[in-house]
């Protein structure tokens, strides 16, 4: 009986030790996983997330990308233009600024409004001078995403190349250091983290239009919208830019 008692105590202590160790291990491991799920802070990568601070304006990336260093970044203008060249972020910010409030509508149903600051594409075109055969621009982005827009679409009044959102430089998630804002088009026609703009002579399918069910034109069609900051309450939209809320 005494031996049994000793064995039980030993067994109890042994099992208690392993149980505590297991619990501590799982708690530590759990917190690491939670950190990975909710934030990309602490790593060099930016990727798709719909958690935390992005609940009122989702972000989507084609592939996770290395955080862009603003000092080393250059916007390359290539292809069919008279003066292909590179611009630093400071040079980009000095181009005739323009601020506008516009709603971004995702093809997945949601939308969100923000104030965007940047400059009209025509301001850039006055510097690089596209050739007569340049029909549109192929955007090359930090996440390997590619998107094409015709020059006709890019020179609409509400289309800008934006470097600021709501009065602050673009966050990494929203496409630092430069993105396109084309409010009459679905979000996938608004490329983020732009590295290069290539003037091309032919229409080209962007990444999503090439592999997914998304139209190359990308104009917002009449239908129903679910604005994030308005509780996703369904609203009828007329097609084209959403201007009434």
């Amino acid at each position: 009986m005494r031996t049994l008692e000793k064995l039980s105590r030993r067994l109890f202590l042994e099992r208690g030790f392993w149980a505590t160790a297991t619990l501590l291990w799982s708690l530590l491991r759990g917190s690491t996983v939670a950190q990975e799920l909710h934030s990309y802070e602490g790593t060099d990568f930016i990727g798709k997330t719909r958690e935390g601070k992005y609940k009122f304006f989702y972000i989507n990336f084609w592939k996770p990308l290395r955080r862009i260093n603003g000092e080393a970044w250059r916007l390359k203008i290539t292809g069919l233009c008279e003066s292909p060249q590179s611009f630093t972020l400071e040079q980009i910010k000095s181009i005739n600024p323009k601020t506008q409030s516009s709603r971004m509508k995702c093809v997945e149903c949601w939308s969100a409004r923000a104030s965007w600051s940047g400059f009209a594409v025509r301001e850039l075109e006055e510097i690089v001078k596209p050739l007569p055969g340049a029909r549109g621009i192929l955007f090359h982005c930090g996440d390997d995403y590619k998107e094409y827009l015709s020059r006709k679409d890019l020179n609409q009044d509400q289309v800008i190349l934006a470097h600021s959102m709501n009065g602050h430089p673009l966050s990494d998630g929203h496409g630092f250091p430069l993105r396109l804002i084309a409010p009459s088009k679905y979000g996938y026609k608004n490329p983020k983290a732009i590295l290069e703009m290539e003037y091309v002579s032919e229409h080209q399918a962007g990444t999503w239009s090439k592999i997914g069910p998304y139209s190359p034109d990308g104009t917002i069609l009449p239908g129903t919208d679910h604005p994030l900051e308005l509780g996703k309450e369904p609203r009828r939209i007329s097609g084209g830019e959403i201007t009434n809320y």
Partner: protein, 212 residues
Amino acid sequence: MKIHGIIFIFLTVFPLISFASEMVEIPAGEFVMGDDHDRYATPRHTMHLDRFSIDLYEVTNEEFAKQFPGHAFWKGAGSHPVTDINWHEAQTYCAKRGKRLPKEEEWEKAARGDKARIYPWGDKLPRKKAHTFYSGLIKRRVGLNKKDTSPYGVRDMAGSVWEWTGSEVEGKKVTRGGLWNFHLEYEFSKTFDRNPVASSDRLPFLGFRCAR
């Protein structure tokens, strides 16, 4: 001589028949307009309209280019509905043809008939949904979808493209119609659905037909 006579009559009369067949006459009388459950429609009410005629099909690229020679379109898209034109151009086109844009009540009567149909063909959504997995617009030859026929025989009033009308609401022009090939919103194609658009807009999903 007999054959020459027949050929002569055919060549003289056929174009007239063909032209005449481009429009459908809508008889005078009452019809139910609007819907009380759809907040984007006018309230349901009965209305009398005089006799009028409306184009059987939406205006095509080829037809539009005859009046506006600068109008460019993709090869093979001649019989597709013309789009990306603003309200003023649509109105001018109709005027050049001795016509006008239909009023929205005329458009609605031509689409739903005098039995208050929800869709041109009746009250039920078709079981087959078009282009479920595609986000954009696929244009096709006007009149291709035989199901999309109104009680008066007018074609493409639920599908194909939206259409300008001559009516105005809150400073915008009323457009009518719908897109059957939209992947998320099949419901926005009812005969009473209205969609206000600025008259200066040019949109790839917006065309028109004329009335007289």
